[in-house]
Symmetry: C2
């Protein structure tokens, strides 16, 4: 990396760093793919130790980032590291070290009539590009998950967090070195030039998978421009649908949890759909519960016919991911109408139905394009930890390779192993 | 489609057809995803019947294509339909109808400590774009696999086969109609304008997956330009490595089969790697067997030291997919040297080792980036039928979603279904 930065700085012109970083990453990935589970776990534990040992250095780097930042308070909070946050990063790596090895799992095996034994075996993807924004801890989490799953990773953090990202990267490299693994298994873009992002997005064949973490505009840019496969979600416009056969108390509790437990996460419900048959009876109570917790509303005409004080929703409101204490409300006529609303406005993230009718539930579960569908559960459960994955690198709403929470298993691909005794193809 | 073509023809200017085709495909895909296995199988059998009933019409359309074609003999052969080839297409659809339904398979299921039951269920991908060259039967095969797996497909065949492709498409639509499924489940680009290909490649979010079938230049263009995930292989530069602990007779038979059974398929071996320790003893016999079958050679200096009459290989020869009765030969020093050669020149398709040493075999199987690795078997076995998939739509060498032969299972993705009893996230 020093060689790369010094070339760039010395000559004062744009020298693409990605081809070199990607070539080193590929070489490192080959070593990682053949390393033992124990070695990769050792690297994770050494990196955790290095984070703890270097806490002062990391906080000092973070102070430089904060001093240079002119961002608003919420952004500054995400950027800020504290002793507790450094410890949380280290503990996260220790936790990842304890998870089962996702590499080498036999996903399927069978024997052909000619005696060939065929198996599908989980392997690392190869080289992963991680593009993220302000939170410096994303770099440590992503690097940890990639090392565990035998992938090399190239990190490109936000420009505001460069010093913090470099300090964290140093600890990850120390961990790799202590375990005898190649340092290029975790690399970081040498500076914050946006052209590195463009180069990553165009690096087909060099980077195998790009995972963007950040706001909608970042993710949409990546999805629009990438010529490399992308795992991501641009938004989580999640729906909870209260069917006419819903248990009223369950519906009330689920909607409040799905909307208000944490309003800023992608699995938070943004729109309540409620059947016309039960809306007069249930909507007032649900709205009262939500209002008591500080929620505001955007309601369609049919909901306002029941509760005239609710503010009117525009068409655009139903396509808005609020990420805030605001709920869009529409009254619908049964499950097909609810599914049509979701098909029109949804983001293929997470949708839930509340009903006691198993047949209707099955129709709903099978009727969306969404990565995660739920029956009588809170959409806030869409989370790698809650799914039992131990850790997640993001949530994907695309249709290829992985969907929903992306954990260690989803950072693997597979190869076919064919074992014969000299079979010739006729 | 007639509406689309008439607008284009009437106005004499470029009107993109893809957005409209893709929107119809998405609507059709939603219906298909919820259709029963029986309905989709009925569509396949009706389409097979329609192909048989319309044989004369299809052959007449094909005669128009042939009359307009100025292509060379090999190309004309691929373009030519005969009664037997029409029957083979129909029989292929009947066969696909009898395969197990890939949709709805429960890929995994578990229960969380809070009682949430989570399952990963196979679902159709959605809308697939199939870009292929001369062989008109690819349209029927691809449409059949897509209908079976609940996907809508947009076909874009070669310009030389347009009339044939339209006639075949008509039979597929007749099958869908007879089964009560939407006709837009199988659509065809309205004309042979190359801009339709560009529009397909750029249709992120509208087309979910593109599968190109054809020559290297077509596939490489698709891989380079697509902003939609692609399943493909640009080439199959497959290696067979004869390790020093190989059974000599098995090695001889496997190399001959891997190279010469059919030289034009992507799983044919293009390069023989042979250990220096056994090359003097084994290479003369292998070369004699191959030469007797008409094979020519390109050999490195170490192989020519053993057999001076072999023509010399250039560096570029080892990177050439011959698809012909030509074999590149290199002498190597053990498994790591063989793996280094494959890493440098291979195309991540299929590689085989011949050895009686299980430890070395394991090292080889784990040491490539290739989609398929074999031990004591012919690389010609890399084929969906030979793998037991029943049918294949192509072979993929990328790292994401699917690798190796792409059959019905690989045309599915999944969703998570989360079933609760009112659980709230703490």
């Amino acid at each position: 990396m020093n060689a790369v930065t010094s070339v760039m700085e010395a000559e004062g012109r744009w020298v693409p760093a990605m081809p070199e970083l990607a070539a080193r990453a590929r070489a490192a990935a080959r070593v990682l793919a053949q390393s033992s589970s124990e070695t990769r776990n050792a690297a994770l534990r050494h990196a955790a130790a290095a984070l703890r040992e270097r806490q002062d250095e990391i906080l000092a780097a973070n102070a430089l980032d904060l001093a240079a930042s002119t961002a608003a308070a919420a952004f500054r909070d995400r950027l800020t590291l504290t002793p507790a946050r450094v410890e949380a990063m280290a503990a996260g790596l220790d936790d990842i070290a304890q998870l089962p090895d996702p590499v080498g799992r036999v996903l399927a095996e069978w024997t052909r009539p000619n005696g060939l034994r065929i198996s599908r075996v989980a392997t690392p993807v190869g080289v992963i590009g991680m593009i993220y924004e302000s939170r410096p801890n994303v770099g440590a989490d992503a690097a940890g998950l990639c090392i565990k799953s035998g992938n090399a990773v190239i990190l490109r953090g936000g420009s505001e967090s460069l010093q913090s990202a470099r300090a964290i990267h140093g600890a990850m490299v120390a961990g790799l070195r202590a375990a005898g693994l190649p340092e290029a298994a975790v690399q970081i873009a040498p500076d914050t030039d946006r052209r590195h992002v463009a180069d990553m997005l165009g690096a087909a064949g060099q980077i195998d998978l790009i995972i963007p973490r950040g706001g909608k505009s970042l993710v949409e840019r990546v999805q629009r421009e990438a010529r490399v496969p992308v795992l991501a979600h641009a938004e989580g416009l999640c729906h909870t649908y209260v069917h006419e056969a819903a248990d009223p108390e369950m519906a009330r509790a689920l909607v409040v949890n799905a909307k208000m437990r944490r309003t800023g996460i992608c699995g938070a419900t943004e729109t309540l759909l409620i059947d016309a048959a039960v809306a007069p009876a249930l909507l007032p109570g649900i709205v009262a519960d939500l209002a008591a917790k500080g929620c505001a509303f955007k309601a369609d005409a049919r909901a306002r016919a029941i509760l005239p004080d609710l503010p009117a929703a525009s068409e655009a409101d139903f396509g808005t991911e609020w990420l805030d204490a605001i709920l869009s409300i529409a009254v619908v006529d049964g499950v097909d109408d609810a599914l049509a609303h979701i098909a029109r406005f949804g983001s293929a993230h997470t949708e839930a139905i509340v009903t006691e009718d198993a047949e209707v539930a099955a129709r709903f579960l099978n009727g969306t394009d969404s990565a995660v569908v739920m029956w009588n559960a809170s959409t806030q459960f869409c989370d790698g930890g809650e799914f039992g994955f131990g850790a997640e690198i993001g949530i994907a709403t695309g249709r290829i390779h992985a969907r929903g929470p992306v954990g260690l298993e989803q950072l693997t691909t597979f190869r076919y192993e064919v074992i014969g005794t000299g079979q010739l193809r006729p």
